[in-house]
């Protein structure tokens, strides 16, 4: 089974002083799929996400990545196993250039990051690969631009390039389309679609048309629990899902 499902959780629970943000969630993410986590506001999507990447420690339950129990691991160690996350607010290093942003990720895998006595020109050997990654997400003309000066959609693309630099097996994207213009959404959706050929992707997303378009399988969360799971057409006929969204004030 470990081969079929890259990430599994059993009874995943997070309690904040009596309030269960995530309760008894069993999730199975199939290798090579795009799996979406949706649900109304406050359903526990982001908490669930933070649990999976170890930015939060679960109160109970188990997380298996490639059959290995990662429940007690530190976030940096999880990242080293190839399970890499993005953030809701675009996560770039604002005053580094796009090239430097990607290079910081490349540098980690190749050791020597503690060398304070060497010139950073030794990092130039990563420039080629960094440019390749930037080209790949359509950012070639931005390579010397500080991230803070890039348009929002491009920052998200840069974030994806940085994540890809780690050569992950699985990417967790936290609302990759949040705050984006229509055309940026299309660009990033195409990009996600394209990279999904190589990676497993789990994403939290509010934009249902994006979810419909991209996901192979969707898990619906409400009040911290799994309400339903299936593909988009199945779920769009599900009365409970409709109710959960309408009940929470979504049109």
């Amino acid at each position: 089974m470990a081969d079929e499902f890259i990430l599994e959780t059993h009874g995943l629970t997070k309690e904040f002083a009596g309030f269960f943000a995530v309760r008894d969630v069993a999730l199975k993410v199939r290798r090579g799929s795009i799996h979406a986590l949706i649900g109304p506001n406050g359903a526990g999507k982001t908490t669930c996400f933070n649990l999976l990447t170890k930015f939060l420690q679960p109160s109970a339950g188990q997380i298996l990545y490639k059959g290995k129990d990662i429940t007690a691991m530190a976030p940096a160690d999880v990242a080293r196993l190839g399970l890499v996350r993005s953030f809701q607010i675009s996560a770039v290093f604002p005053h580094l250039t796009a090239l430097e942003n990607v290079r910081v990720a490349l540098q980690r895998q190749h050791g020597s990051s503690f060398d304070f006595w060497r010139s950073k020109s030794v990092l130039d050997r990563f420039n080629g690969r960094a440019r390749e990654l930037l080209n790949d997400v359509g950012l070639n003309e931005f390579s010397d631009t500080p991230a803070v000066e890039m348009p929002y959609g491009r920052k998200r693309a840069l974030e994806i390039a940085t994540t890809l630099a780690l050569d992950p097996e699985m990417m967790l994207l936290d609302e990759p389309m949040a705050g984006m213009s229509h055309e940026d959404i299309e660009k990033i959706a195409t990009l996600i679609k394209r990279i999904s050929a190589k990676y497993t992707i789990l994403m939290v997303e509010h934009n249902l048309s994006v979810v419909a378009d991209l996901s192979d399988i969707i898990t619906v969360l409400t009040r911290g629990q799994v309400l339903a799971e299936g593909n988009y057409s199945e779920l769009s006929r599900d009365e409970r899902v409709k109710e959960a969204y309408l009940g929470a004030g979504h049109g």
Binding site: A79, Q107, W117, K120
Partner: protein
């Protein structure tokens, strides 16, 4: 948005070349000081504080960690060097080594304790640890309490350079300062420095890329504390004493002030800031306790009008990182 954009000075090869040119100019100017009427003791003292501020700046400007206890490294190295020179009769180079080793060991311990906390909590822990040391030094017999260790022999460095001669001492201190400065400059522009900047910019993201950020912050802390200690050891030869002033919390505050006035996170800012503050203390000595008030006013003015500090504002104006 535009304000943020204006602040952006990407580190390019050109920026590094600019910095090397400014460094060369600074080295030449400082090398010419003995030919002028400028009081060398003042410059030597300023150089020690400049190196201290640069070490502090490595931690806050590039690691984003505000230490409010850097006087403990200055004072610890000072006391240990002074004791080794005076009581044990060590040669100058060994005396310096003892001081640097002591501050290095201290930075490992204090860094390990404080680095686990962030922001104001980190600052408060460093302050608390330095206060703890202050009271230990106040009571410990070897520091001679309020009197301090006085009349420290300067000796011959490497058996050749007579440090009792002001001109020799000046060039030795200058060489020490330039060496320490270059080490910091290299650390900032090293693979390690790149990671440190990334952590300062966005720590959660650095973690998500697989960096164990605490280890990088600890190394920055140890480098900073050790170099601050080196400054403290050099200062012993200049002042020929080691006293409680150097471990007092007001000293830690002065280090912060120097760095802010000069320009936080700039390469040369702390040097300029140290010279400005030390010059003020020299020239305003006649005002007695009012110096503190004047310093306070300057600090407020600095925060209100030129937040980037002197060098930061110049760099901003020239669109260069200095």
């Amino acid at each position: 948005m535009s304000a943020m954009t204006d602040d952006t000075l990407p580190v390019t090869p050109r920026a590094m070349r600019d910095e090397m040119l400014v460094f060369a100019a600074m080295a030449v100017l400082l090398g010419l000081v003995p030919l002028t009427d400028i009081y060398p003791f003042f410059v030597m003292q300023a150089l020690c504080f400049a190196l201290l501020a640069c070490a502090f700046n490595l931690l806050i400007g590039y690691g984003g960690l505000l230490s409010f206890g850097h006087a403990m490294f200055l004072g610890t190295a000072g006391y240990c060097s002074a004791h080794a020179l005076k009581v044990w009769g060590f040669t100058p180079e060994l005396g310096i080594l003892v001081g640097v080793a002591a501050s290095g060991a201290l930075s490992v311990v204090t860094g390990y304790i404080s680095i686990r906390r962030q922001g104001i909590y980190f600052s408060m822990i460093t302050l608390a640890l330095s206060q703890l040391l202050y009271f230990i030094y106040l009571q410990a017999p070897f520091t001679h309490g309020e009197d301090g260790i006085q009349g420290i022999p300067q000796g011959y460095l490497f058996g050749i350079f007579n440090l009792a001669q002001p001109i020799v001492l000046y060039y030795v201190v200058l060489a020490g300062f330039l060496g320490g400065f270059l080490l910091i400059f290299r650390a900032i522009n090293s693979p390690f420095g790149e990671v440190l900047k990334a952590i300062r910019e966005n720590e959660p993201r650095a973690v998500s890329l697989g960096y164990k950020t605490d280890q990088y912050k600890l190394l920055a802390f140890i480098l900073s504390g050790t170099i601050a200690g080196f400054a403290g050891s050099l200062k012993v030869f200049v002042a020929q004493n080691a006293s409680l002033t150097d471990v007092h919390w007001t000293m830690s505050g002065e280090i912060v002030l120097m760095t802010l006035v000069g320009g936080l996170g700039t390469v040369f800012g702390p040097v300029v800031g140290a010279f400005v503050i030390i010059a003020m203390q020299h020239n305003l000595a006649g005002f007695g306790q009012w110096v503190l008030v004047i310093q306070g006013v300057i600090f407020v003015a600095c925060v209100l009008t030129f937040r980037r500090g002197i060098v930061g504002e110049i760099g901003h104006y020239l669109k260069r990182s200095l």
